[in-house]
Symmetry: C2
Subunit: 436 residues, 2 copies
């Protein structure tokens, strides 16, 4: 996962398709102060989900989020030049939620020895320490299992201790944290040991994937896109992927196939209409994904309705089980958004991922993949994408440069990513009462 | 005021004298998380003064603030690479003080057509706009005077309107601000038009130079330096200049000369003792400055007690009147701190200035002066220093590099500057009840 050459810090857009996106970027630039003001107003009544990463797809004519991760990994992929932004935002986030916090217990994923993931944990620990917090890593693994003892590429050891429950608090030996920070998406459900704690748990257990549906997120996002579009005179479709959901799917038993086929058909039809309206000659496609899925598991690209009726055993297996062995029952059918950002002479496909802490964009990177297509998901298990850190920050557009110049494109990414963050905040409001 | 060559982004320290400073920087590095934690705790009970700049002097063996400006100019001198930090911190500052603010009235200095100053106002306007606030510039000039109409080097016009009082609010035509942001240090006293407003005024009128004394600031700073020194096992003298104050001075009538001579003598003696303790062979000196002075007016370097007894007419004139024609009555005698940071083959003298917004260090620059001595003030009227923006942020030290490597030296600057910011916060607590 090397960084690419620095002179290629911004992928090239396939230029024929940039017309409407240029218009979008221009609109953002013109209205920047008002857009920021709009965000300030929205945040007055919304809680902050601590941190998040948002996968975007940039089709040139359309810029939209396709996934929002509230337990983001990949902090190691950010440009170190923007670590100060991260440090400042971490201080703001902790202060907002828990002003007296001095000691933070960071809870990583279980069952992974993925070195990239642990570099992420290492980066988070370092950033939190620089922000002025003492950090220990506490594992959710149960008594019989041994937490991994990892060593980072720079030689620093990352000791991992098993979490101990003590009344209404959790500790690790010699460390009584004021705050529990989750970097574990809780796919398997809210852990008993973290329930009913006196210590604040951030993000809250209710935002784990056991309780969260992508379709809820995108329902919130859709409302915000409409509102944002009205205020800024933007067709919300240009920033929002169309979607439908199917409950009660069983890929193994081939239950729910009709619902799936119907929804695929409907989404393809709606996208076709929009493509016609904007003179886009590409073929529409949809992404079928587990509604509670994560880690890029349980995802497929579909171009024709027939494809979901003719899934072979291997495809059905692939779609039916996601992380922690959870069975897929609910599925989202989402408009596929082409990525027309490519990098280098090989035209490697690139997809931006934007990182936020508190309400602030703190950086991002491109997932760059040499052999995947422009209509494929770039985040899949075992996939070794290259990461290319954003060269500029996302909060400092420059009206004297072209609308698609680096700082302005990154600003556009930051605007869309923050819309997705707001959508997550509204999910949080919605689930605040959820039992955890 | 050009930026220097970027390969000279950090001045060289005269190496013979760096021993104790290296020790200081090393201590800061070792204890970074605890230092940040200490700041978090202090901020829990202290108000934030919105923004500030702190002039530091780096003698190699000693790193100390010599002036803290709560109405900082010079935002145009910061490294644009750190504008995102500024934007983020401005959002934090406004949100903390006035969460619903959408429109900000920025009040600049009167009576100046200094183009550098207006570039500063232009930079502040741009940063506030990027942070999501609508900004107008409102002048305190009275009816008979015409506010200047300035044009920035980039061609942008900066319209300045006269402030209108309307009941308990101030406005400018077509603009009803939620917040009044002062970039005017109120040397002439709190303006009638800003008294008793329904809108918040930041920084508060009570922090203007009409009401503030440098000696009060350094009294607060001294307490913090002692506390910080105890916690971190650092001799507070290494970060704190010794000082004394004289009230009831009249330079024209030669009143108070004895007090001045006595204090100069005492400070020189104390510094001489400390120099002996640390084996420093330089000659001690003191800076005599107006206790309420600003803009580098009313400042002189003194090496012997006799000098303050033998002031000629020109020197007495220079010391007796400061900005807005205010007569100097109170004087501070402050230990002079050598600057042993020099730049380039000409060994131009450099002095760091650190900028903070809310509680965050957002950048800084070196004042570089080719013809001034290492024991002279570099901020004086009509002085055309060069500015060299900091190349690194002040919040991201790197333990894998030498203690005096760029990021680590900037971190040390940021620590000391934030101690001065905390001292200003305590002044604010002290003056909160002052009538304004």
């Amino acid at each position: 996962m090397d960084s690419g050459p620095t002179h290629q810090a911004v992928p090239h857009l396939t230029t024929a398709l940039t017309g409407p996106l240029l218009a979008l970027e221009e609109r953002f630039l013109e209205r920047e102060t008002r857009i920021e003001q709009w965000f300030h107003e929205r945040w007055l009544s919304a809680p902050t989900p601590f941190y998040a990463s948002v996968d975007l797809r940039n089709a040139g004519f359309k810029l939209a989020p396709v996934d929002t991760n509230l337990f983001p990994a990949g902090f190691n992929n950010l440009n170190p030049a923007f670590h100060p932004l991260c440090i400042q935002a971490l201080q703001a986030a902790v202060e907002r939620l828990c002003p007296k916090a001095a000691r933070i217990l960071l809870v990583p994923e279980n069952h992974t020895r993925n070195t990239f993931y642990w570099e992420n944990i290492g980066a988070l620990v370092l950033l939190l320490e620089r922000a002025g917090y003492h950090v220990r890593i506490g594992s959710l693994l149960s008594d019989g299992e041994t937490p991994p003892s990892m060593t980072l590429a720079n030689g620093r050891a990352l000791p991992v201790a098993r979490i101990i429950r003590d009344g209404d608090r959790v500790t690790v030996p010699g460390f009584n944290p004021c705050l529990v920070l989750l970097n574990n998406d809780l796919s398997a459900g809210p852990p008993e040991i973290l329930k009913g704690l006196a210590q604040p748990v951030m993000p809250p257990l209710s935002l784990g994937w056991w309780n969260r549906l992508k379709s809820d997120h995108f329902t919130q996002y859709r409302r915000l896109a409409v509102e944002f579009g009205e205020v800024n005179d933007i067709d919300p479709w240009l920033i929002d992927p169309i979607f439908r959901r199917c409950g009660r799917i069983d890929f193994q038993k081939r239950d729910g196939e009709d619902c799936l086929a119907h929804n695929v058909d409907e989404v393809l039809g709606l996208v076709r209409e929009k493509y016609r309206e904007y003179g886009i000659t590409q073929e529409p496609f949809v992404i079928v994904k587990a509604d509670a899925g994560t880690y890029g598991m349980g995802i497929m690209t579909v171009r024709h309705t027939d494809e979901v009726r003719q899934l072979n055993r291997k495809q059905r297996n692939k779609m039916s089980v996601i992380k922690e062995g959870q069975t897929v029952r609910e599925v989202m059918v989402q408009e596929g958004v082409y990525t027309f950002e490519t990098l280098g002479p090989q035209q490697a496909v690139a997809e931006p991922v934007v990182y936020m802490v508190d309400r602030f964009v703190v950086g991002g990177f491109y997932r760059v993949h040499g052999t995947r297509g422009i209509d494929e998901n770039l985040n899949a298990p075992g996939m070794h994408f290259q990461s290319l850190a954003f060269a500029d920050s996302c909060s400092n557009p420059d009206g004297t440069q072209a609308p698609d110049a680096g700082p302005n494109r990154f600003y556009a990414y930051g605007v869309i990513a923050r819309l997705a963050l707001l959508a997550a905040a509204r999910e949080l409001q919605g689930t605040a009462g959820a039992s955890a």
